[in-house]
């Protein structure tokens, strides 16, 4: 009798769906995702869409920061490039969403390659500073390149349409986002079963050792940056067409920090972790909003201070997770699972 998930060959180990149990629950999840918009009300679908966009962005950041070990403080810059490319292409040139979205991904990926160039010489902290500066420069370009970006007033991108059908409701947009999330997750999961993915992990663990065993650091670092920013570009494009208007305020340093918080909370270097973290961090402000509404009578000033409460909570959560749970929600979940699997024995 096999009472555990034991692997007897390498093919087993890199399987995407490790057990029938996992397959079964994935099917349930999939059916649930299809049924969800039919039963849920508009507000929940809206939240779900935000989560979906965040998942794509967080996956991108985790590929770069979690798996390749290059700290990025400029993720919002790539999202901004994606969002603005998509919005400008569809408003100024009338390019349909279905073409504008991949193009915005490619545009962001090209920006990612440019940012990767200084990172080839630099390590750790210096990359954090470079990407930080990049995010800033993008933000200022958006504000001051008025002929292209409309400056501080922002751009309204049209909702995507297919023939006569316009995806103008939250419900219909939900399906676009869900498809993109599934594609993004599937690609990321597969990436780390491939040569490229393993090379990236090797670079994270010890770049010199990786170079010695024949991994071309230049090539793979540029690849990591471009894949990551492609994801960010797609997420930005989805944001641009979903929100009524996008302005530079959507893409400040706070957004980069929010994405970093997602992967820290979810689990650095974990696909499932990016998803948990994205959902957690996206829903957290809503939870704070609910709480402030509850205490509105006692402390009426709380509602006006919502943004400050939000940043205090984000800061606290980052600190708490880094000190007490560096493996993130994914690690916590795995520990609990292992505990119950072996219960009543410790191991």
């Amino acid at each position: 009798m096999i009472n555990g998930n034991f692997k007897t060959n390498y093919e087993d180990e890199i399987k995407i769906f490790q057990t029938t149990f996992v397959k079964f629950w994935l099917v349930i999840l999939f059916v649930g995702l299809i049924i969800f918009p039919l039963v849920a009300d508009r507000y929940f679908i809206y939240l779900c869409n935000l989560c979906g966009i965040a998942i794509i962005g967080a996956l991108g950041l985790n590929i770069l920061t979690g798996y390749t070990g290059q700290i990025s403080l400029g993720h919002a810059g790539f999202l901004a490039i994606g969002g603005y490319t998509s919005a400008i292409l569809s408003t100024k040139l009338g390019i349909p969403f279905w073409l504008a979205m991949p193009l915005s991904g490619i545009m962001a990926a090209m920006a990612g390659m440019i940012v990767a160039i200084p990172s080839l010489r630099l390590k750790g902290l210096y990359i954090a500073i470079t990407t930080f500066a990049f995010g800033f420069i993008v933000d200022h370009l958006i504000i001051h390149w008025e002929s292209m970006t409309n400056g501080p007033s922002g751009i309204t991108a049209p909702r995507p349409s297919l023939g006569v059908f316009v995806f103008d409701s939250d419900k219909s947009y939900y399906f676009i986002i869900i498809v993109m999330v599934i594609l993004a997750t599937g690609f990321a999961r597969n990436l780390f079963r491939s040569r490229v993915g393993r090379a990236l992990i090797a670079i994270r663990d010890r770049d010199i050792a990786a170079e010695i065993i024949g991994i071309n650091l230049t090539k793979y670092k540029i690849q990591a940056f471009s894949i990551s920013s492609f994801y960010a570009g797609i997420a930005g494009s989805l944001m641009a067409h979903y929100f009524d208007v996008i302005t530079f305020e959507n893409f400040t340093l706070m957004l980069s920090i929010q994405y970093l918080a997602m992967i820290i909370v979810g689990g650095v270097g974990s696909i499932l972790g990016s998803i948990y973290g994205a959902i957690f961090i996206t829903l957290l402000p809503e939870l704070i909003r609910l709480l402030t509404d509850l205490f509105r009578q006692e402390y009426p000033s709380l509602t006006t201070r919502f943004a400050d409460l939000k940043s205090v909570t984000f800061g606290l959560i980052i600190i708490i997770f880094l000190i007490f749970g560096p493996k993130g929600l994914y690690g916590v979940w795995r520990d609990i699972k292992v505990y119950w699997k072996n219960w009543p024995f410790t191991y």
């Binding site: 200084p118 750790g124 500073i129 800033f136 943004a307 984000f314 600190i319 560096p326």
Partner: protein, 298 residues
Amino acid sequence: MNESIQTFLQLMLSGMSIGGVYAMVALGFVLIYKATGVFNFAQGELMMVGAYFSFYLITQYHLHFFQAFLLALIISAFLGIVVEFLILKPMVGEPIFSVVMITVGLAVMLKGTVSLVWGHDVHQFPSPFISSPLSLGGVTIFRSSFWTIVATFALVVIFILFFRVSKVGIAMRAVANDQRAAQIIGISIRKIFSISWAIAAVVATIGGFFFVNIFFVTPDISYIGMKAFPAAVLGGMDSVPGAIIGGLIIGIIENLAGGYLDKLLGGGIKEISSFVVLILILMIKPYGLFGKEEITRV
């Protein structure tokens, strides 16, 4: 005097005064980085908190500005020690990503807390300096700016002496050089870490105090911390004189770019010039002007 030269000198001088503030904040980065190996993304926020301390001690408790200044320095030194104890101590030995991110978390939290407690209002700082500008050979400068430059140079001298002469300073240098060797000769690394954070917070507060004299008191002044990155990187991340010179150069570059390039290329050049410089330095000379090059041996 030729008018264009006068404009140039004017821009240089005001660049130097803002650069002095950058230098003081950058000095805090360098002190912490040198001694503990942590790059503190919350340095600008420490500066902002320090500025708020002195502002509220003056307006709320009606202290004389000098008393308020000293008291603010003591409080912020204490804050630095508390931060080091609560947040940085558990992170010893963790990967660089976690250490960097915890200071980012700290930055977000500090700024949020200050805005939550004291609000977003923009206040005028009750400046102790006379508001009439000083005239130096055809170039005018505000007294507050003038004293900022003086204070910057005073700090350089103080810190060079501190690291050369005082026992704590020499111990800090020893820790920066080789932690294990320092421990063997009886230096308490833990103590040095808290002292570095305390000093960094104090220097940040001095910077904050001078900056609000030039500018206003608002939570957003923490953005000065971001401008101090380029300064610290330009000077070399582990060099004290480098931080000061880097800060002054960044301030001057920013002002010159604002004065000359803004008209040619449209607005916003002033704000991003320092970041463009930052990326260029990292591409060409990543260890800055005076930084020590790290060599990894396999």
